[in-house]
């Protein structure tokens, strides 16, 4: 469960990048976060994950405030950032070892999970190579495996599907579904409207730092009767 309470953020004075944002992502829910470029999606995600300081308001993850008890809050989510170019000098396996140690994955589970996940994502053969030799999608996969490895209750993913091949994208979507079925939370941003439509239990649309819609796909259709496709609705909503 992720609760965003009255959050405001400005990078520069007098210009609110995020303006009084309220959002609650419940357990067992896949939540898609949509919005045009520069709307504030990454900024929001950075505040949830403790990368950016929150100017006003607070964010709770499983009831733990990222402001007050950051380490506890960080323990209960896994995060895939939008740019996967990280730890390039480490080998894949070294990165996974590092993550498992940091998140205190029990020794007995560690080996099994690493092998299982990396085989699932077809990256097992490359684990002994440095991440700098990986393609964009492979880098993304290694970060995603890193998240799955420590089995956090909450997944926070910034544009996780860009760059994945069809099979891996399919796998990831299936994993998101099964994760949420177990009563966990998935929060991700995307530009792909069909994904949001088919995968998400609820969607939120943000534009210029303000939340302009939250609800299910059906509710949105209801609200905009004239339009048929999500694309048209999206364009109408954000075109102001």
């Amino acid at each position: 469960m992720i609760e965003i309470k009255n959050v405001t953020k400005s990078y520069v004075k007098n210009k609110k990048t995020i303006d009084n944002l309220n959002l609650q992502i419940k357990d067992g829910e896949i939540f898609g976060f949509l919005g045009p470029n520069g709307a504030g999606k990454t900024t929001t995600i950075k505040m949830i994950t403790g990368i950016l300081k929150i100017d006003e308001g607070d964010i709770l993850i499983d009831g733990k405030s990222i402001k007050e008890s950051p380490v506890d809050a960080k323990m209960s989510f896994g995060f895939v950032p939008d740019s996967p170019d990280m730890f390039l000098k480490l080998k894949g396996i070294e990165y996974l070892n590092f993550i498992a140690d940091i998140y205190k994955v029990p020794a007995e589970d560690k080996k099994e999970r690493i092998e299982e996940l990396s085989k699932e994502f077809e990256i097992y053969e490359n684990l002994n190579e440095q991440i700098q030799s990986y393609s964009h999608g492979m880098r993304q996969k290694i970060l995603i495996i890193g998240v799955l490895l420590h089995e956090p209750k909450n997944w926070i993913l910034d544009e996780p599907l860009t760059g994945l091949d069809p099979k891996s994208a399919y796998d990831l979507k299936e994993m998101m579904k099964s994760h949420s079925k177990k009563g966990n939370t998935v929060f991700f941003s995307t530009h792909v409207l069909e994904v949001a439509e088919k995968l998400c239990d609820r969607i939120g649309i943000i534009n210029q730092g303000k939340l302009i819609f939250v609800g299910t796909y059906e509710e949105m259709k209801e609200q905009f009767k004239g339009n048929n496709s999500l694309e048209e609705i999206f364009l109408e909503m954000t075109e102001k």
């Binding site: 990368i51 950051p70 730890f87 070892n97």
Partner: protein
């Protein structure tokens, strides 16, 4: 032509990281800091120059001074550019953005050359501009001399720099083992270091330090220089254009120098453009590995984190070569001249050692030893670049579930560990050379260790407050990082503080305890401060 200039300008700005919207005050502070550092070095150079000119006056050979500066400039720009041209031509991130642009290969190469040349002007200020201007004023030269100095300044480094660029282009083109870009960097820099050590050995072996002998030595060096300049034509031409002011000989030589430089510049550009683009698109820094067994083991958070830090440090050539290697090489370079003492003076030295031994075991001796230690610590930039080195990835510090103050502690560890080398060097050196008692050695060791903790932790903090995260080449993090300057100033201030404290007491044990207590309390205080201040301290990282 215009395109090339624009491109050079952008590349230069990008590599210097000039445009990063800072507040005016901070930008001014930074400029001031750089200004003072430059002014300081300039003063030192100026002082040395005057001394040298005076010495040479005793043998009526002031011209040697000029040829020394010229040779030095050529040598320095050659050696320095081998490293920087590899880095700028092949290993900077901007290549990926440049190659798809509709700009001809020649223009890209020339723009890259320009950047390399301009960056060698910076060193030339110290090896040529300042000494020559001082020479000019001191020897009361006429306007010609200064105009010629300007021309020589502009054109002398061009050929050496282009030559080294050519060397690296040829290397990258024809050598298969060099396909791996990490290997190239290790090899070239280590070669350069070996060269410097050999040169130092050579010079030290031949030097005797009375002023007259020294001047004679210089004559000998001048002989070599003359010999060399038969081959290095540009030095000869530069020399003539700076000295032969009767007739038009100097104008002729200056024109030749300028003409040759421009020809070499353009010709090399024309000849290498195609090759360069081809090999720049053809390098990787990846070693193929046979599928070895996966190594999966569980370790504590601290172990794992520190292990990651060390791996990233050692596996990035630019970082390793600029932060780790100097810790070992520089003390050796500094110690070498003392090892190589003349046998004739052995007796004097043993007397000197005896006198020092008797006077070492007091608070002032302690202060001096600690300052020597601090001086050796200055070459260790691991902690003060620990955040900057991560570049844009530094944000992971903020979402990992580890307290930020703990991460700071972990980040200070590699620097701490590598500093054990200078500590051992100093303590073992003192133990074996001077006869001092073991308690004194132990005290040095203890203070050295806690000092080591302190400075590394402070290094990390300096870097956190203002990290350089957006860089195009790894070299700029460890070469053009203002934090390194701050760190140096901090160490100097610390040295003065230690002197001040030591001079207040007579009893070594009291001073030792006092220093340890002060340092320990400060460390605890800082650690607590980081914990309290937490995310506010890290706001530059996002």
């Amino acid at each position: 032509m215009k395109e090339t200039l624009i491109l050079s300008k952008i590349l230069l700005k990008n590599s210097l990281n000039i445009n990063n919207g800072k507040s005016k005050l901070k930008a001014t502070a930074k400029k001031l800091l750089v200004f003072f550092a430059v002014a300081y070095i300039a003063c030192v150079m100026g002082f040395l120059s005057v001394e040298l000119i005076n010495t040479l006056k005793t043998v009526n050979q002031t011209g040697i001074f000029l040829s020394l500066c010229l040779i030095l400039t050529v040598a320095v720009s050659l050696i320095r550019s081998i490293i920087s041209s590899l880095q700028l031509l092949y290993f900077s991130k901007d290549i990926e953005y440049l190659l798809p642009l509709p700009i001809s290969a020649l223009k890209i190469v020339l723009a890259k050359f320009n950047v390399i040349i301009i960056s060698s002007y910076v060193l030339e200020i110290f090896t040529l501009a300042i000494p020559l201007i001082i020479y000019g004023i001191y020897m009361m030269q006429e306007v010609h001399f200064f105009i010629m100095t300007g021309i020589v300044f502009m054109f002398l480094p061009i050929i050496p720099t282009i030559l080294s660029a050519l060397i690296s282009i040829v290397l990258m083109r024809f050598t298969n083992i060099f396909k791996n870009k990490d290997t190239v960097q290790y090899i070239t820099v280590i070669m350069a270091f070996v060269l410097v050590i050999v040169m130092q050995f050579y010079i030290m072996n031949n030097s005797e330090m009375t002023e007259f002998m020294f001047a004679n030595k210089l004559l000998e060096v001048d002989g070599i220089a003359k010999e060399l300049s038969n081959y290095v034509i540009i030095v000869k031409q530069a020399f003539i254009s700076l000295t032969e002011f009767e007739g038009l000989e100097y104008v002729k030589n200056a024109i030749l120098l300028v003409g040759e430089s421009i020809t070499v510049y353009l010709l090399t550009g024309l000849l290498t453009a195609k090759t360069y683009i081809k090999s720049a698109t053809n390098i990787t820094s990846v070693k193929r590995v046979k599928n070895a067994k996966l190594n999966i083991s569980k370790r504590s958070i601290a172990r794992s984190y520190i292990d990651k830090e060390v791996k990233m440090l050692f596996r990035t050539p630019a970082f390793f070569l600029n932060t780790v290697l100097p810790i070992f090489i520089l003390p050796v370079l500094l110690v070498l001249p003392f090892i190589d003492v003349d046998m004739a003076s052995a007796e004097d030295i043993s007397i000197a050692i005896k006198i020092i031994s008797e006077n070492l075991q007091n608070t002032m001796g302690l202060a001096i030893i600690l300052c020597i230690m601090l001086f050796l610590y200055i070459f260790n930039y691991i902690s003060v670049t620990s955040i900057s080195r991560e570049g844009e990835n530094a944000i992971i510090m903020k979402y990992l579930p580890i307290d930020l103050n703990k991460q700071c502690r972990y980040k200070a560890v590699p620097g701490f560990l590598l500093n054990l080398f200078p500590i051992l060097l100093v303590t073992i050196g003192i133990k074996f050379i001077f006869s001092v008692n073991n308690i004194f050695i132990l005290e040095i060791l203890l203070i050295g260790l806690i000092l080591n903790v302190f400075i590394n932790y402070c290094g990390v903090l300096i870097d956190i407050i203002n990290p350089k995260l957006h860089w195009t080449t790894e070299y700029s993090v460890v070469k053009q990082n203002i934090n390194m300057l701050w760190y140096m100033l901090f160490m100097i201030a610390l040295g003065f503080a230690i002197f001040a404290i030591c001079s207040c007491f007579d009893n070594i044990h009291i001073v030792t305890m006092l220093l340890i207590a002060i340092l320990a309390i400060t460390i605890a205080f800082l650690d607590n401060f980081v914990k309290q201040y937490n995310i506010n301290l890290f706001k530059k990282i996002s």
